[in-house]
Each structure stands twice: as structure tokens, then as C-alpha cells.
Subunit: 186 residues, 2 copies
DNA sequence: CCCCATCTATCTATCGATAGATAGCCGTTG
DNA sequence: CAACGGCTATCTATCGATAGATAGATGGGG
């Protein structure tokens, strides 16, 4: 019940970064949102880089769990990919937010090194999972599968970016549908 | 020879935004880069919003000119699309930068209204051009063409975002190639 | 002579970060 | 049991740096 403050801080921080980006996150606004003082945030996360890295690390870890759950839930590649694209869709439906690591990737050059490393790991997690999934059905060359996995991830992130810019989740749905119609998604 | 300071400021500002985002742009850094004082930047662009909007407006205007040049240069849809994707590629090859409006789209919610409006216009410009191009050959339903145009734009922006995160332009090339292999691009 | 462009100097607000005080809890110990 | 000491988590207060922005002086060109 105690609602561990550290977790509450991370939850609020993630939402703020997904809405305004890493540079748009301030300790004061975050503390106000949570209902503590900014010094308390620094107690749990000494530097902003520590906080950002912790957010991205947890985000990537959660992604692994969620995605692997899909692999267990269904043997169908198409069904798994639908669940996959729905995860990215849910960020948009949650107050027009973006994938945490997608928005941070845009700020890539400005990120502290420890944050950048975790953001990069999120990309790795996605691509590795997609490769694993795509390898199920087809027996295409490994290189071709990796290329396809990369393209799917990029296309999904792009659809999210554009849909968010439009402020219209239907844009995301249309892009995904077009990917499917074109054959990028099965 | 005078090298109009206002244009020099805009050139430097665009490069800085493409590298670090709108929030990462500071009047002091920009002025130092150009070799003037920050007050001089304020003389030409009273507020940061004015500067950002001017950047995005010029960016969208240039895009119109460049893209329309492609339509005149070739009648082939595939050739035009190759030139189109090469434009976005060139941002990456120029010091791993991103499309100005792509990176600003990520910061969408944090943008001053006048900047957001111009960023949105850039998306419009792209989609309208793609619709015009795709309408050349096929006589598919208007809705299907718009959907395809949206998907292509989103996929290209996403490929740029991911490639930039990897710091490897080959990632962009692979994604584009996969789009083509899948049939999203002709 | 005036005006455009730039400068110097400075303002207020906010940034991330730190020092030091305080209050509650928990185990040890006399 | 009760008192003590240490630990955790939070607070108040403040730091220096930097953000965007402004007022007013300066100087060169038409």
C-alpha cells in the first residue's frame, strides 16, 4: 500500500518524458506532480542522467517481458505482430504519448551516455524479438530477416511519430494498415 | 559577400536543431556559433518561437521546391521516390542529423503554437506531394493512395529516427531496401 | 542626419544540484 | 521496558549556471 515513492517518481517521470521528451523533464515539475520536493527526487536519483537511465532500463526490461508473453500466447506470426503494434498504439491512446525510447532517440545526441546506452538497448530488444518471431515461420536468410525486423521497427516508430504529430490515433491505424496491405507486415 | 546575418543565423540554427532538437537550441550557443551576441539573434528573431517557426517555414518551403523539381525531372514514380528517400538520407549523411520537422515532431507537445503549425505543414507538404506522385500511375481509390502516402512518409521518418539512433546510415539504407522488397515502395 | 544592425549590460525565471536540519522507525542494550 | 544511536526519507534553503528576453548605447552607410 505504501506506494513506494521511488516507483511513483518513475511512473510520473516516464509519463512526462513520453509527453515532452527528456529535455522537457524538470526535477521541479516532476516533484510537484508527485507531491514531493525536488531534493527528494535527487535523493532517489542523484542526477538527471541516473533517472533517465533508470527509466529507459525499466522500459526495455518491461518490453522484453511483454513481448515474450506474446510469443507464448500465440504461435501465429501475424497475431503476435498485431499484439506488437498494439503496444505502440497504446502509448498514443494514453494521452497522445510516444514510445519512451522513440522520443529519446530523437534527442539522441543530447543524451547523457548512460541514458543513450539504455535507449539503444531498447532498439536491440525490439529487433532481436522481431527476428526471433520472424524466424518462426520462414526459413529465409538471416540477413533478410534482420533487415525485415529493422524495417518493421522503424516503420512502427515512424507511424507513431507522425500520428502523434497529427494528434490523431487514426493516422497510426492507417499507417499500420497500409504496411499490412503493402506486405511489410504479414 | 555580406552574407546576410539573418540567413547565417538560420543556417546555423537549423543545423543545431537537427542535431539537438528545438529544446536543445539556445540563443547563446547559436550566437557563439555564428560569431555574434545573443542580443543580435533576438534582433532578427524577437522570440525563440519566431526563430523556430521561421526555420520550419523555410524548411517546408524548400521541400516543396525540391520535391516539385523531382516531378519535373522524371516521369517515373520509382525514380521520384528514390530521389525522395535520398533527401532524407542526406540529412543523416550530414553529420548524423535528422529531418528538422521529424525531430520537432517528437517534441510536438512542447512546441510554441506557431512552430507547431509550421511543423504540421511540413507533414502536409510531404503527404500531398506523395499523393500527387502516386496518383500518376495508378488509378486506385483516393483513400488508398492517401493511406499509402501517409505510410511511406511515416516509414521514411522512422527509418531516419532509428538509423540516427544507431549512428549508422547503413541502417537507413537497409530499412529503405526492406520497404522496397516488401512492396511499400515500388 | 538618420536608421539599421550590433553591441554591452542586465533582468527574471528556471535549471540541476547540494548542504544541512528534521522526523520517524528499528534494533540493540543497559 | 525505556533510552540511545543509527538509518532512511524527506524537508528547507540555497548555490552557480544558464535560459530567454530587454533597455539603451554605439557606430557605420545611404
Amino acid at each position: 500500500m505504501t506506494a513506494d515513492t521511488k516507483q511513483v517518481i518513475m511512473d510520473a517521470a516516464r509519463a512526462m518524458v513520453q509527453a515532452r521528451g527528456y529535455n522537457g523533464l524538470s526535477f521541479r515539475d516532476l516533484a510537484k506532480e508527485v507531491g514531493v520536493k525536488s531534493a527528494s527526487v535527487h535523493y532517489h536519483f542523484p542526477t538527471k542522467g541516473d533517472l533517465g537511465a533508470a527509466l529507459a532500463r525499466r522500459y526495455a526490461d518491461e518490453a522484453i517481458e511483454i513481448f515474450d508473453g506474446f510469443l507464448e500466447a500465440s504461435q501465429d506470426v501475424g497475431a503476435c505482430l498485431r499484439m506488437y503494434t498494439d503496444v505502440f498504439r497504446s502509448a498514443l491512446s494514453n494521452d497522445n504519448r510516444m514510445c519512451l525510447c522513440g522520443i529519446m532517440a530523437a534527442e539522441h545526441d543530447d543524451l547523457p551516455a548512460e541514458v543513450r546506452a539504455e535507449v539503444d538497448r531498447f532498439t536491440d530488444v525490439n529487433i532481436r524479438w522481431l527476428v526471433k518471431l520472424l524466424s518462426r515461420g520462414k526459413k529465409a536468410a538471416t540477413g533478410a530477416i534482420e533487415q525485415r525486423a529493422l524495417a518493421i521497427f522503424a516503420a512502427v516508430e515512424g507511424a507513431q511519430l507522425v500520428a502523434r504529430g497529427r494528434g490523431d490515433i487514426a493516422v497510426y491505424d492507417q499507417a499500420i494498415e497500409a504496411y499490412r496491405a503493402a506486405g511489410l507486415l504479414p
